[in-house]
């Protein structure tokens, strides 16, 4: 090994961040979401500029602006975040970029912590955005650099599609010394390329398809695709972490591992398929590769439908290799997660259960209110859906049932996509009014205590402008806005909820109590960087209690 080569142990997320730093990105932006969250935190901790956006759509729009200024940018999100960012994504492919724009889509096959297992490789095709799929931390580093380089070369946004096992697995990475790019941001007018009125968008679409055709040709000859020579009896086409499982389950097979999986190197794959007796495609999730290859007239064998569900692993690979479709042994249930002892959400769900509310829920720690002992949440679909769905229930249900409907969401989720729901509530109020609970624990708790615009602190915990929820909500003309500490005043909270449910008016109750896990850290941040102006500080008594609250997790335990 060259003495200048560094050997590191990194997670896929850390490797993505390090590559972005080494390339010289001007900015990393995104919204927290497992398994993508650590990328921007690592970027920031290692001297890069990183910030949380209120949601993924805004993050991608900021990123597109950076790339329009001829700089490089990394935009990160979990798979469902790309649904939120889909609007700018599809047209960003038309406008293209002046600098580099790489979007990390961290998919979650098996749904370790997600509401669905959508396969975002479909997004690459639908939006006509090129996509790279790393298999481990080494490739997370290499492919992030490559994506940034290719983006600058083809003036297109690129998707780096990772999965939970790539994001969170730590593997060995070798780094060669590298000069950081010195990019000089500047602006050049190019109205025809960037203003997507129909007369400009029509030629832009043709340009896009031309670029993709050129990139596909480059992928055939020079793409990051790897051929492992083996026996000609069995050939396997695969990508991402599946390659690792394949090498173990079928060590003697010939393997074509694809790195740039949209647009595909179809002729390379065609030659590979022709060189083996049996050509099997192994992919997690949807039959994306199988469908693309068959459409191109390449005869390949796919996996049985039962393996579309969940993650793949070596055991499942072995079964796929022999066509075993017998039922798989059921995993023994582990212990489900629950709300922390002392969590303020516990009190809220206790009251919702007691009052037999119909709860339109949302995404965050408080989703655990759907599990025993509370079982006090009736829906969970996507970020911010609680408000719209609650309104729909109110509109349609008979009056006596409609009166029991409550929308429940957290502070970070409220900022992410709850605000348009509240606008809808003010604009199209149900006859019997509605009640929204914002469970404000002062942090994005579920993903690991990230800041958001309502905390008044930036990603690196420095003071910044703070969105004051009650002021924002009152400005919409919603008449009843109450702020209650549910731990200090549980009866007051219950009383407020009972009164709001009985009223025909629109009500928002903000239950404000700092997350137990965050309280100590927030105190440290405030000492380092006091908020410039905080018109609505927490009651002093709560601050004191919050500071002294014991953490339910041992010191130094990283989860």
């Amino acid at each position: 090994m060259d003495t200048a080569t560094k050997r590191l142990l990194l997670s896929g997320n850390e490797a993505v961040a390090l590559a972005a730093l080494d390339y010289g990105v001007a900015l990393g932006t995104g919204y927290p979401g497992t398994p993508s969250t650590e990328i921007l935190e690592y970027l920031s901790a290692h001297g890069g500029r990183a910030q949380w956006a209120p949601n993924e759509k805004v993050a991608l729009e900021v990123g597109l602006g950076v790339a329009m200024a001829s700089a490089a940018v990394l935009v990160t999100m979990k798979h469902v975040g790309l649904n939120v960012a889909a609007d700018p994504l599809f047209t960003a492919a038309y406008t293209g970029t002046s600098g580099s724009l790489v979007i990390v889509s961290a998919d979650d096959p098996g749904m370790a912590s997600s509401q669905n297992e959508q396969d975002n490789r479909r997004f690459a095709v639908a939006a006509a955005v090129p996509m790279l799929e790393p298999a481990d931390a080494q490739e997370s580093y290499d492919f992030t650099l490559l994506a940034l380089e290719l983006s600058a070369r083809w003036h297109l946004p690129f998707i780096l599609r990772t999965t939970t096992r790539v994001c969170h697995s730590k593997t060995v990475v070798y780094l060669l010394p590298r000069e950081r790019n010195v990019l000089v941001p500047h602006f050049e007018h190019d109205i025809r390329s960037r203003v997507m009125i129909p007369s400009n968008a029509r030629p832009a679409h043709r340009r896009l398809r031309q670029k993709l055709a050129e990139l596909a040709q480059w992928n055939e000859e020079s793409g990051p695709n790897e051929l492992v020579a083996g026996q000609s009896r069995l050939g396997i086409v695969t990508s991402g972490v599946n390659f690792m499982h394949v090498r173990e389950a079928a060590p003697d097979a010939s393997v074509l591992k694809l790195g740039l999986t949209y647009p595909l190197p179809l002729e390379k794959i065609r030659r590979f398929a022709a060189s083996v007796d049996r050509c099997l495609v192994i992919e997690e999730g949807d039959p994306y590769l199988v469908e693309q290859l068959r459409t191109a007239g390449i005869a390949v064998e796919g996996k049985p439908e039962m393996y579309r569900f969940g993650e793949l692993n070596v055991t499942r690979m072995r079964r796929i290799l022999v066509g075993d479709t017998s039922p798989e042994p059921a995993a023994l249930p582990g212990k489900p997660p629950t709300l922390c002892q002392g969590c303020p959400h516990r009190i809220v769900f206790g009251v919702l259960k007691k009052l037999d509310c119909i709860v339109a829920g949302d995404i965050g720690c408080y989703s655990l209110g759907a599990l025993p002992p509370w079982e006090a949440m009736d829906s969970l679909v996507c970020m911010g859906a609680s408000i719209g769905m609650g309104l729909g229930l109110r509109h349609a249900l008979p009056a006596d049932e409609a009166r029991r409907v409550v929308s429940v969401l957290g502070d970070s989720t409220f900022v992410h996509s709850g605000i348009p729901g509240l606008v809808e509530m003010a604009y199209n109020p149900p006859h019997g009014g509605h009640v929204v609970l914002i469970l404000d624990n002062g942090t994005t708790a579920m993903t690991g205590l990230q800041e958001h615009p309502g905390t008044g602190r930036t990603l690196d915990h420095a003071a910044t402008g703070k969105i004051v929820f009650e002021d924002l909500i009152r400005s919409l003309g919603i008449p009843n806005v109450t702020v209650i500490d549910p731990v200090a005043a549980p009866e007051e909270f219950e009383q407020a909820l009972v009164e709001s449910l009985a009223s025909d008016a629109l009500s928002v109750i903000i239950t404000r109590r700092t997350c137990l896990l965050a309280a100590g850290k927030i105190r440290q941040y405030e000492q380092c960087s006091p908020l410039a102006t905080d018109p609505h500080p927490l009651p002093l008594s709560q601050r004191e209690r919050g500071v002294d609250s014991p953490s339910p997790l041992p010191e130094g335990e990283g989860s």
Binding site: V314, P337, L553, G558, S559
Partner: protein, 163 residues
Amino acid sequence: MNPMSDRVINIVVAGLGGQGVLKASDILTEAAFAAGWDVKKADVHGMSQRGGSVRSDVRFGPRVFSPMVTAGEADFLVVLAEDQVEPHRDVLRPGGTLLMPDRIAADRLPNRRSINVALLGVLSRELAIAPEFWQAAIRNNFRENLHSDNLQAFQIGREMEQT
């Protein structure tokens, strides 16, 4: 050094959120890395933070492919909560070793929270990783005021009587 070092060693660490499962697997992974092995560690973050079951897979050897330990192929299963043995028992290969907190005389530990590190001490006797790599990894993973408790816990585990 252990004769098993010419092949990939599979270890699963399991327990409940908050018990130090990920801390233990981080230390193990770093020690194997420092010893020069190819190493991979896979765990799933997210809901596990809220007191639920946590499992972390560590594999090391001359060349590791999959980051996950295949069912029935673990050489070692380290479990920090007794009720988590059954959900994970099927990862062990025939003849594989189960390590549980009952292997440690907890009252000898300077801090009972260090049971995860003490079990690493027991495990360390079976692995081709020299003590100095373990000690360095322990120092890297704890704040300085916790170094001596954890180094001591590791040593206590390492010197426990075989059962």
